[in-house]
Amino acid sequence: MTALLQARGLTRKFGGVVALDRLDLDVVAGEILGLIGPNGSGKTTFFNVVTGIYGAHEGHISFDGADITKASSRAVYHAGISRTFQRSRLSLPLSIFDNIMIGNHKRLNQGLWFNLMRRGDFKREFEANYRAARALVEVFEPQLAERLFEPVAGLPMIDRRRIEICRALISQPKLLLLDEPSAGMTHDETKELMDDILQVREFNKGLTIIIVEHEMGVIERITDRCAVLNFGRKIAEGPYRQVAADRQVQEAYLGVA
């Protein structure tokens, strides 16, 4: 069992608030890890520190054998970590296809000469990427795959989530960070989305996922293992059933004395 992502003593403060407090976390290649905890327990901060949006004040993170503690968001993406955001961050005026291609940045030829002058080659690359995006979207929602050139602005929440996840998956990352994929969706929609995620995993075998989620049904169903955060500290770790039975966890969530 080798850890794909390893955090050691990770600390991040905002003024007097300690959002992450000497956090140790190992994520094993190929697993789905659930990251749970009450609001403000540091789950999203952990994602933001891993993806280089915030720097860490102490401790370090390594990914796939390389230290990424001080890596920029760009470098983290190039190393093979993709994410979705808690509040949807799609580019609304752009089409579905455009949004997904933003996630495919590292696999697109970014040369000025190629893009402007070699339009024949560009067209071939465009068509190959169109097929890839279409195949990926089809896994989630076949009807959406017919509408790849429509703006995202007109789509309902569940479709926007699907596109966000497609944007994160199109570059075939090694690690996917899902930040509350069920936020703003109904119970049935959430279930549908989780089915899709499990299905995508069938395609992309090696994919490791960390998921932040409040719906315990989701966590129970799709995670192999859970880590529970409270005030930036890890208070429990293990399979969902074991964690859910933990007294400290119940206190943190329900405030039972």
Binding site: R74, I102, N115, P151
Partner: protein, 387 residues
Amino acid sequence: MAQAGQTSRASLLPGIAALVLATGYLIALLAVEKQPLIIGLLAFGIAAVLAANWFGWLDPVSRSFADREDRLGCFAILAAFVVAVFFREDHFVLLLFVTVLLYVVATLGLNIQFGYAGVLNFAGASFFGIGAYTSAVLNTYTAIPHLLVLLIGGLLAALIGSLLLLPVLRTRGHYAALVTIAFALLLKTFLEVNDVLGGPQGMQVKPMNLFGWSFNDNIHIGSVELSFYFSYFVVSMVLLVGAFILVRRLERSWIGLNLDALRLDETAASCFGLDIARWKITAFLIGNFLIGIAGALFGMVGSFVAPNNYTFADSLILVSILLLGGIGNPWGLVVATFIVVVVPEKLQTIQEYRFLLYSVLVIAVLLFRPEGLLPRPVRSYFPGWRP
């Protein structure tokens, strides 16, 4: 915009019809001299567009342009030549026409910066002026071929513009815009106190001379005489077509996508590997390059440059064209430039109040049509392409 399930390409006819009508209207507007007639024509034009919109006749036109842009672009070039040939002896109208074409090139540059990358440049006229001063100096003191002078004008505008890169990259939104305003004021002052560049009086610019063909003389073809501005029209047209194709290809590539991504959400863009600085710099430099080339040619056309021609107010005109036309839509820029440049020239009565007209136009557009006269459609990488 491609509709799902619609497999056949849109017809050329609505686009051609719109071009023919627009050409006829433009010729009429440019030919008429009497003020009441001009006011009548303008009112008629506005009413006609509103009515066409009401009856839904504009949709087939925009679909036609979206799908068959290459063809319709060729027809638009033809239309421009028809107008120019119609006014072949009229210096004033041809000068006005050339001014429009070069302003379109400049706003295409601004469009890359603001429309795509979201970098607001309030020093457009300054970079235009750098181009114009380049041709003034090089044509006076050197024998560099004039086509090369145009290129140098563009490169110099990009080079001097790169002085602004550091402050523009370190600031965002309004603050970056303030940096460009400061630059515009500095450049004007610099030109005014610089005696080598003619100080406040400015400089003469020698007219263009292409391979021994002087643009100072009228052209005689058999018994037909063409205004010397006709030569400038041809060169401006070539420049415009080149700039238009460049901007279109840029938009319809991964680079255009990068620029949109970083304008709309820098954080998300950098989480997907975008080098924000690299693409902002690329957009800023290419934009200033286009503005500089247009300015260099404009200097030769006007045969005179002075600091007062390239002020902050002129930059505002360029920005208002962008807002009016539809940010990100090159066709919108063409329409808007005609409105902003031609209307005050023809309507002598409002000449004094033209800034009032611009502000009213911009406020009206922002209130009633925030995306401009011709809003930018969703990107289609290859017009008419179907899966």
